[in-house]
Assembly symmetry: C2
Homo-oligomer: 233 residues x 2
DNA sequence: GGTTGTGAACAAATTCACAGCG
DNA sequence: CGCTGTGAATTTGTTCACAACC
């Protein structure tokens, strides 16, 4: 079954694997050898049945009556997530957000070295941000040629995002993480994920607003729309 | 039906409303009076049936044979999302990411003014970043007292996130957007959303890896695991 | 004719509950 | 006896397809 499922790990599961991995890495660092689905669930903020089902998609790596071997799970999950080698990243847009991302230790540390930033602003091109060279957007093809299969992180203004994405893709990029507040159209062979800061705040605003409405109008009645939704995934 | 559904807009729909709203605001700015579900779907990157079902949760604001009135929809959606007034935001952590977020125009512009940053680093406290005062974490209670019901954006290191969240919550905060790479535990009455940059890259890495495996091992056979998943939600 | 609004069909994800194994 | 792994049940979300309406 495991071998079969290899081809069909559900999207929802894939989105949780990195959380498990981070949790497990912490456990390994604190010399925990084994962990139960119950405890891992607690640490990862999900429920135990979900953990077991998620992990079962990777294969049968647990021991009944005991739990999962932490080190081994870390190894298998890293392999599964393709984290056994680094993936070079190029950040498009050397504005505030782009610079922050270039400085963000979480990237390089976790196997995603930022090899370059690109921008069209000639006054920025040629400088370095946190050691990362800022190059002109026109050099994109060269950068891809130098580093191979890079991941593009878009931190441009909304208006420029589609153009830059198009150029990235025609230069050979197949993975894009979009921070620009714009909907991107990409061909089928390109993987796209998006992070929209304003959208997240607006979602919070919705639930908050709802709550205000509910408590204002009805001081009676039991609680309906409960909070504590953990979004993004 | 619409009145009934008011209380139960599906989570998946709520997560899309901000995208529709942004799209509609753009249309309004370019003097488009009416829009069909088909066209809105195209611009928002979803399918038309989904748009219609999503909008039906807000009420019957469309006209058969014609489409939706853009201005009116913008108004209704803003109201629904609680965007008719500003929601003050406090950013915890005046590091790279926190500073970038404070500088990020998308926040203040879209009704989420950053009223303060908090940090424990005395060398930062007292300064201003993009006009936003940096105050000490200990002043949190005062800030909440000054501005009322604020939204907390956590941009602290992972290790500090739970502590800061706890302090935010005991100061009265009920909405938290977490950028720290850590799983937070919050009480039931607090709304939590999270954005994890490294997680997003790892998800891209998974699909990319899969693709590499597939094309490497089998040069034959039709395409299975197709790309172009648009994540985050 | 064109487009919405929505039941019904379908698909994905979650949760339950327990057999099976260590 | 404890904990995994997984079928079955349930819930949630998506898509279809068409009647209702302008």
């Amino acid at each position: 079954m495991a071998e079969d499922d290899r081809r069909t790990i559900p999207e929802a599961t894939v989105a949780r694997l990195p959380i498990y991995l981070r949790t497990l890495a912490d456990l390994a660092a604190s010399d925990t050898a084994t962990i139960s689905s119950e405890r891992l669930a607690e640490l990862a903020g999900v429920n135990a049945a979900k953990v077991r089902k998620d992990l079962s998609h990777l294969g049968s790596y647990g021991t009944r009556g005991v739990g999962y071997d932490v080190e081994y799970l870390v190894y298998q999950m890293s392999r599964e997530l393709g984290l056994t080698h680094d993936w070079p990243v190029v950040i498009a847009g050397a504005g505030n957000l782009g610079q922050a991302l270039a400085n963000y230790a979480g990237f390089g540390n976790r196997g995603f070295p930022v090899v370059a930033m690109v921008d069209t602003d000639r006054s920025k091109v040629g400088s370095r941000i946190n050691g990362v060279p800022v190059r002109h957007l026109d050099e994109l093809e060269d950068i891809v040629a130098e580093h191979g299969d890079i991941i593009a992180v878009l931190a441009t203004p909304a208006g420029a995002a589609q153009d830059v994405a198009d150029r990235m893709i025609s230069a050979g990029v197949t993975s894009v993480l979009n921070f620009a507040p714009a909907v991107l159209n990409v061909p089928d062979h390109v993987w796209l994920r998006k992070v929209d800061l304003a959208v997240e705040l607006q979602i919070l605003s919705f639930y908050r607003q709802r709550h205000a409405d509910a408590t204002a109008t009805a001081t009676a009645s039991a609680g309906n729309g409960e909070p504590a939704a953990t979004g993004t995934g």
